[in-house]
Symmetry: C2
């Protein structure tokens, strides 16, 4: 490989080539953490380090992470780093981390997906979860995990085809929140909501349809799962039909006249998570 | 220019080179609209078309826009389009549009920034505005305009150094909302809030500081301006000090333990716009 002169650098090749990275990361069971802060969070969450690629000026501040990695630490010039990665790596440090087996949806809904050092969340069954159906944009997935962590969502369930939360851009945009919120991936899309219902979750389908129930007025119950659809088309008709209730975020009456008929999925997720948290507080 | 074989294509050169584009667009007073929907919205908002660069399959659906442009319509192959733009242009149509002089902050606050075809918003003085201080990411600026349009914010004021809402990526992410919401750019950052106060706006500084007043409990008054700070550092201490009140979006008590100490600016803006709209409804 012309731009990965050292075999140990193959994990970092062509970081902007989404298709290549998907197959490479799946094949080797790895993901990439970018920048000191995110690398530290991945390590703290218990992901084993395969190797680190960094420029000289990061060696001291990451010394404790590098300790014991031996020849799996690659110190290079900026030019080499950028050439391997295929773009200017402003954060100066990349780590290749080992993925681990995801918990099942059942395990997550029982609270078994809590992280080793999960602190307060450890072991308790979640009461508020997000369910992401077929989101394609890694940045959106990362941003939604960050919202979830900030606003008291306790777990995330992904549809079988939803974009990978451990893809570099998702990890980066989440600021490491993908390591902090337990998540699982469904194996069956068509009947994916049945398990949530069986576990006592009320499923709310978020839609831009302004004739549905405003989220603030929805009945939430003790356990609530909010369903978010893909960027272009929103939720599938299957899931809209299967959900207990369709809910919306009320928009301004002037919005349609301005040519705006929906919020982007991150904005919608943020408002919805905030609404769930407020709903939980009012019941408490 | 090697990748702009026709002089008429110079407007479209190297669309991913942010620094080049900033100077080129400022020098020629142009901006780029991408894709049929966004081009139509720019035209509907009254921006004159300088030229259009498109692939053959878009000629029919954009026929009315192209009408009368003569040799300022450039029909090219995908390869030529991608070579000129410097990236794969999935939407198949780009238009170079003429900028126009922005209204002043004073004019915007009086409602004079309403668009020619502004409909319901036309001419009425805004009661809810966002003020963006030094945001650097064009995608964030675009996403915030979309939230603003969806959630009843009536105008946006930019600090002198805030990223350009008419930059291609901002336009695209906004889905054209940058054409629909009147906006102005301050000429003076240091005393930028004085004019808002003089116009009767209560200025609320949004901060992640959880000891400030929760937004839902803030006194809003008849006219309210919500201040949003830059991605990295948030609001300047000058503006925090000058604002009437600091407000926050309450986060989950567990968030800090998860390593999440703030929301991203788009998520925060979405929740805040929603809160302003709800506040206005409760007063009505």
């Amino acid at each position: 490989m012309s731009n990965a002169p050292h075999p140990g650098l193959a994990d970092y090749a062509n970081l902007r080539d989404v298709e290549l990275r998907k197959s490479l990361e799946a094949e080797h069971g790895l993901f990439i953490a970018e920048g000191e802060k995110v690398i530290r969070r991945a390590v703290a969450a218990g992901y084993p380090v395969r190797s680190v690629l960094l420029t000289r000026r990061w060696v001291t501040s990451l010394a404790d992470v590098l300790d014991g990695l031996g020849d799996r630490v690659h110190v290079v010039d900026d030019e080499v780093m950028d050439a391997v990665a295929g773009f200017p790596v402003h954060r100066g440090a990349l780590a290749s981390m080992e993925r681990r087996a995801l918990p099942s949806v059942t395990e997550i809904l029982r609270g078994a997906g809590a992280l080793p050092e999960g602190g307060e969340a450890g072991g308790a069954a979640p009461r508020r979860v997000l369910v992401l159906e077929d989101l394609v944009d890694h940045g959106n997935v990362g941003a939604i995990f960050r919202c979830a962590a900030a606003l008291g969502v306790e777990a995330v369930i992904l549809s079988p085809r939803c974009a990978d939360p451990l893809y570099r851009r998702a990890v980066k945009v989440s600021m490491g929140a993908v390591f902090a919120i337990p998540y699982a991936r469904m194996t069956n899309w068509y009947d994916g909501l049945a398990e949530l219902r069986a576990a006592g979750f009320r499923t709310l389908a978020l839609t831009p349809d302004q004739s549905s129930v405003p989220l603030d007025e929805a009945v939430m119950g003790e356990r609530v799962a909010l369903l978010l659809g893909s960027e272009g088309d929103g939720l599938s008709s299957r899931w809209l039909h299967e959900a207990d209730e369709s809910v919306c975020i009320p928009m301004s009456p002037a919005a349609m006249g301005l040519g705006v008929d929906s919020l982007n999925v991150v904005a919608a997720a943020a408002i919805a998570c905030h609404g769930l948290m407020r709903g939980a507080k009012e019941r408490a």
